[in-house]
Symmetry: C2
Subunit: 187 residues, 2 copies
DNA sequence: GTCTATATGCGGATAGAC
DNA sequence: GTCTATCCGCATATAGAC
């Protein structure tokens, strides 16, 4: 009873905290001690919840994918005018990447783990698949499918590049201008 | 005499090898043992050439910056027709990123070291400054300076995002299409 | 579920012989 | 310049008491 009243389980809380820390510090540079301390649990107790660090990252990535599906990508498929959906999706993406520092954990994880831990690749691919599909869906209302897909790819690449430059120069504008361009594909 | 006949010093060779390994494996996941072994020197001997791992990465990044200045960005300022310069710079960038796996060491290093090792930020910034300046120079022949700069930023972001997706999907096309778009800004 | 203690190995770095 | 030996600290992970 009291357990169900809690919004998130302890395990979920660890995943949330870890997402934030991995994004800022990177995967390999983050120790179990860092994570445990931030979560207010003892180092050894971490292994009560997760088999190892890799399994934690996996849960982090699938969680992020679910959040984006549920909160952002879904906005593209609503029964609303095109421009409204486009505006909502832009606002949601802006919100999430400006709120937390460290950029995009999906892109970061590609670069850190592609060589040694290819098991994360499919999860990260599914994230970018869903993102590009959502934008393609929107752009298809004005362009041929092939053109819409190309513009969606360009938009995602532009935004991800913008996130890197935002972090490098500590300047939001690279990211914000990319978002604006993604919207201006339509109007 | 025999020393001067060698094209690269041992120290330079280590830097070259390390650039390739850092790019593929990442900075933190790469050990001194990895680097030494790949260079055919003994682990302890590494410290004869470099104070520590951070100083090695610094030399790697400044070396990459110099190479891009000398081999790529300079192409934008030649006494040649605009389209020719644009084509040469595209070919040079394509060449370098397709030849070696692991993507862009500059972008990778931002994500890995921005939080703990901000000392690398200025070097990486100077790299992207030079790249965007070269493209802005080209685009200014057809657009107003402010527009040219915005298009240069977009092109660089698009290409960097494309490099990430190229690695994620093991598919050159994301990167190649971004390069093509950077050229089509002009013609 | 939570803590103490600890095993174990690896990575960065140094000292010093040759 | 190159190698041997070694120190130290940290990080992952486990065993087991409470």
């Amino acid at each position: 009873m009291t357990e169900k009243a809690q919004k998130y389980s302890k395990k979920e809380q660890i995943v949330w905290k870890s997402i934030g820390i991995f994004r800022k510090q990177g995967y390999f540079k983050t120790s179990i001690a860092d994570l445990s301390e931030a979560c207010g649990i003892h180092k050894a107790h971490f292994y009560y919840y997760f088999k190892d660090k890799e399994h934690l990252l996996e849960e982090c990535l699938t969680t992020v994918k679910k959040i984006f599906d549920k909160k952002i990508f879904i906005l593209a498929y609503q029964e609303k005018p095109l421009k409204e959906r486009l505006h909502e999706i832009e606002a949601a993406i802006k919100n999430i990447f400006l709120k937390y520092e460290g950029g995009c954990i999906m892109a970061n994880s590609v670069l850190e783990t592609a060589h040694y831990n290819p098991q994360f690749i499919p999860i990260i691919q599914s994230f970018f698949d869903a993102w590009m599909q959502a934008l393609t869906h929107l752009y298809t209302e004005k362009y041929q499918p092939a053109t819409a897909l190309a513009k969606a790819e360009q938009a995602v690449q532009d935004i991800e590049g913008g996130i890197i430059l935002m972090r490098l120069y500590k300047d939001d504008r690279f990211f914000l201008k990319a978002l604006k361009r993604a919207k201006q594909v339509i109007y």
